[in-house]
């Protein structure tokens, strides 16, 4: 056992740093660092940059155009990308559907869809949740009925993140209403411009349009768009969720948040001294840093074990819980750090090119927003309570 980075790993980090410093546009990193709204083009710019270096599909095996990086390399890459102010990689095609197709797709599906994900010809949306199926995902009701060479889909999906940028959507649909809830579900790929699909925005508590609801009325989907066997979609869904969860620890984002927190706490004053020297605030920061350090190791040893063939089972649930706790705590401390200047709300300040003067310090503007926005992390991807149920069931067998 040696938890220090090897010289090769340090060299890899240096490589990534240099490349990002040279290639990531200042325009884009400033937007990210200021918490400004990212457009579809912003994401595509970042993807194109990664593609040019062969680093876009860093979760995929090499034979499919991935990087073949091990867990430590992935960790380093993510850490450096976030630290440099890169946007996130849009996960729906690259991190979610890609691994699913590699595991469950037919040769035709892999040949057709994987290159289109890599080239950004396709922007995928995730069609899992429904108004009546949140944490209880298996109770989903969107119905797909076989009609010759097609399925006819009727129902509704919701919380469709960045669906308004997507041209395709992967959905869980019910193909056998008589079977046990988990048994009658299938995994279908659809085109967004199919007749009968309608999308409406949902505005989140900050007043932003990030998520949508999607309605399906007699949408005809060719049967070859089925992934995995009919009625076996739950297996596919669970595989995808496990993938979704390990990334959800968000170590790199929390590290970046802690770094900002330390900077801001040195800047902010309390009784004429830096807030960072206030024993109460310093103790909160210290506890956060310790939790984060431990979680980083926990995350690394889990992904390392998974890479050696162990399945990330309950660990991914535990990481989801701790990861979101830490990230939420960081945004909470950031919000507190700026005191009354957490209050001002200037929606226009989050547009590129805004040149106004904020009432308080520059860095204060996005903090309360980020705090409220991050509440979602303990709700999505299987709420933290659902994660506890999963672990408890596994531990107790009750």
């Amino acid at each position: 056992m040696d938890l220090n980075y090897t010289p090769e790993e340090e060299a890899f980090r240096k490589d990534i740093q240099n490349w990002l410093a040279k290639n990531l546009s200042r325009r884009l990193s400033r937007k990210v660092q200021r918490g400004q709204r990212l457009t579809k083009e912003d994401y595509l710019e970042w993807h194109a940059l990664l593609r040019s270096r062969g680093w876009l599909a860093w979760h995929w095996p090499e034979e499919y155009g991935g990087t073949g990086w091990g867990p430590v390399e992935k960790h380093i890459f993510e850490e450096e990308a976030v630290a440099a102010g890169a946007p996130r990689v849009v996960p729906f095609g690259l991190n979610m559907l890609g691994p699913v197709l590699i595991r469950f797709g037919t040769e035709e599906q892999k040949k057709y869809y994987l290159p289109r994900i890599l080239s950004d010809e396709d922007w995928w949306a995730q069609g899992y949740s429904e108004p009546g199926a949140g944490s209880d995902l298996a109770s989903l009701k969107t119905r797909a009925v076989r009609d010759g060479d097609h399925y006819v889909v009727n129902g509704q999906k919701t919380w469709t993140t960045l669906g308004h940028y997507a041209n395709r959507i992967f959905c869980l649909v019910r193909t056998d209403p008589e079977a046990k809830p988990q048994r009658g579900i299938s995994f279908l790929l659809m085109e967004m411009d199919s007749p009968g699909i309608e999308m409406r925005p949902i505005y989140t508590l900050e007043g932003e349009h990030e998520i949508n609801e999607v309605f399906f009325t007699d949408v005809r989907v060719p049967v070859e768009n089925l992934v995995g066997a009919e009625n076996d979609g739950w297996t596919v869904a669970k595989y995808l969720l496990t993938h979704e969860r390990t990334g959800i620890a968000g170590v790199a984002y929390s590290k970046q948040a802690l770094k900002s927190l330390k900077t801001i706490a040195r800047e902010e004053q309390k009784d004429g001294r830096p807030l960072a020297e206030d024993p109460l605030f310093a103790a909160r920061m210290g506890r956060l840093e310790i939790d984060l350090m431990a979680m980083e190791m926990f995350n690394l040893r889990t992904v390392a074990a998974a890479a050696e063939g162990g399945a990330p089972g309950i660990e991914s649930s535990l990481l989801k819980i701790k990861g979101t706790q830490v990230r939420q705590e960081a945004t909470d401390l950031l919000r507190r750090a700026v005191g009354p200047y957490a209050l001002p709300e200037l929606p226009e300040a989050f547009d590129e090119g805004w040149n106004g003067e904020p009432p308080g310090p520059d860095y204060a503007l996005p903090l309360a927003r980020a705090y409220f926005n991050m509440r979602k992390t303990s709700i999505y991807g299987g709420s933290n309570e659902i994660q506890r149920n999963i672990v408890a069931k596994n531990l107790l067998g009750l």
Partner: protein
């Protein structure tokens, strides 16, 4: 990065775990804890023969381990068995200053189990400070003569040799000016008041009046040696706490599965399930912190001390949660002497009272965090 144990380490771990599981049932442990010195000297000799003391010390000292990893995995096994023999006092705190001084003769007896040593460092009103030393050493007609009081010296009563810290110069809380001295506890100038501890061990107040001591290393320059010995002790305790918590968790899980109330196992209640998961999650966090601290034990000072404090802080914070929840979920049974659970709980919580509690190490973590970054 490499997260796997080497083959030799895996063997050492298994040897220790198996021996403790088979030879150290809790009834025997209670018996040892109630003996005169709070442990069994015969058992200690068996442990030594098995190589568990040597595993804590490096080859140049006659041992075959001594890395952070060795210390962590052995103490985790000791924690699982609630072992009361003086591994911390003799194998870590007492032995490491001897290692640094290159005292091979004494170490041979330590590793063989014939000689018990204890570090007499902490003082009344010093809490967990490493620099708070009021005990003084002066060169007199009999060599170095030491006067002062040492508090809560773990296994101090049984020690064949005391290693006493004393100030030879400097102000009362300076790092500079500390010395370490080997003191024979059977001389007139040493008075020992021994007592049992609530978690099944033994400690002592040691009063020295012109006690004669032989310097270890150069008097005045011992601070770094003390800090490193205490650092290893911190790692050992965090790992021991981890082992004890794993058992407390397993016992509690078992109880949730088998205890029936209202016609179903109590573990069917979500209120208990979620708390159980939180316990498990925090234990995983602690395990990560212990691994990190073990792995950086030989790193530069700021990184080493920061990571040690992170581990000990978490051991205290998580320990309280695990100890209290384990008792609570066992209900009335958890309050009885007969159950193993409260004995684990007592040890876990009392570890927070040794070599710095959760607040002490949070403060220390913050102090080193900037330099380590």
């Amino acid at each position: 990065m490499d997260f796997n144990l080497s083959e030799e380490r895996q063997m050492l771990k298994e040897t220790a775990e198996r021996f403790i599981r088979e030879q150290y049932p809790i009834e025997k442990r209670h018996e040892f804890a109630r003996a005169t010195f709070g442990f069994s000297r015969a058992m200690w000799e068996e442990f030594a023969e098995l190589g568990l003391v040597g595993g804590l010390l490096p080859p140049e000292a006659g041992g075959f381990g001594g890395t952070g990893e060795d210390i962590a995995l052995l103490f985790e096994a000791l924690g699982r068995g609630l072992v009361v023999e003086p591994f911390l006092a003799t194998g870590i705190l007492g032995a490491w200053p001897l290692v640094e001084a290159g005292d091979e003769a004494a170490l041979e007896e330590v590793i063989g189990g014939q000689r018990l040593v204890a570090l007499a460092h902490g003082e009344p009103n010093g809490r967990y400070s490493i620099t708070h030393v009021r005990t003084e050493a002066r060169e007199g007609s009999n060599g170095w003569e030491i006067t002062g009081t040492k508090a809560a010296v773990v296994n101090g009563c049984a020690a064949d040799t005391l290693i006493v810290s004393a100030r030879v110069s400097g102000g009362p809380d300076d790092e500079a000016g500390l010395g370490l001295f080997r003191v024979d506890p059977r001389q007139d100038g040493v008075a020992i008041r021994s007592y049992a501890t609530i978690d099944g061990g033994a400690a002592a107040e040691v009063t020295l009046g012109d006690a004669v001591g032989k310097p270890i290393g150069t008097p005045g320059e011992a601070y770094a040696v003390i800090e490193r010995a205490v650092g290893r002790g911190v790692l050992a305790l965090a790992a021991e706490a981890l082992g004890a918590m794993e058992v407390a968790k397993d016992l509690t899980l078992d109880y949730l599965r088998t205890r029936v109330q209202f016609g179903k196992p109590i573990g069917a209640n979500q209120a208990l399930q979620h708390r159980m998961v939180d316990m498990m999650l925090e234990i995983e966090q602690l395990r990560s912190a212990v691994m990190l601290a073990a792995s950086t034990l030989a790193a530069e000072r700021a990184v080493r001390e920061r990571n040690l404090s992170a581990a000990k802080h978490l051991a205290g914070r998580v320990g309280r949660q695990v100890a209290e929840e384990a008792i609570q979920m066992h209900g009335g049974i958890g309050m009885t002497w007969e159950s193993a659970v409260p004995h684990y709980a007592k040890r876990i919580v009392m570890i927070d009272h040794l070599l710095g509690d959760t607040d002490h190490h949070l403060e220390r973590f913050m102090r080193f965090s900037e330099d380590a970054a």
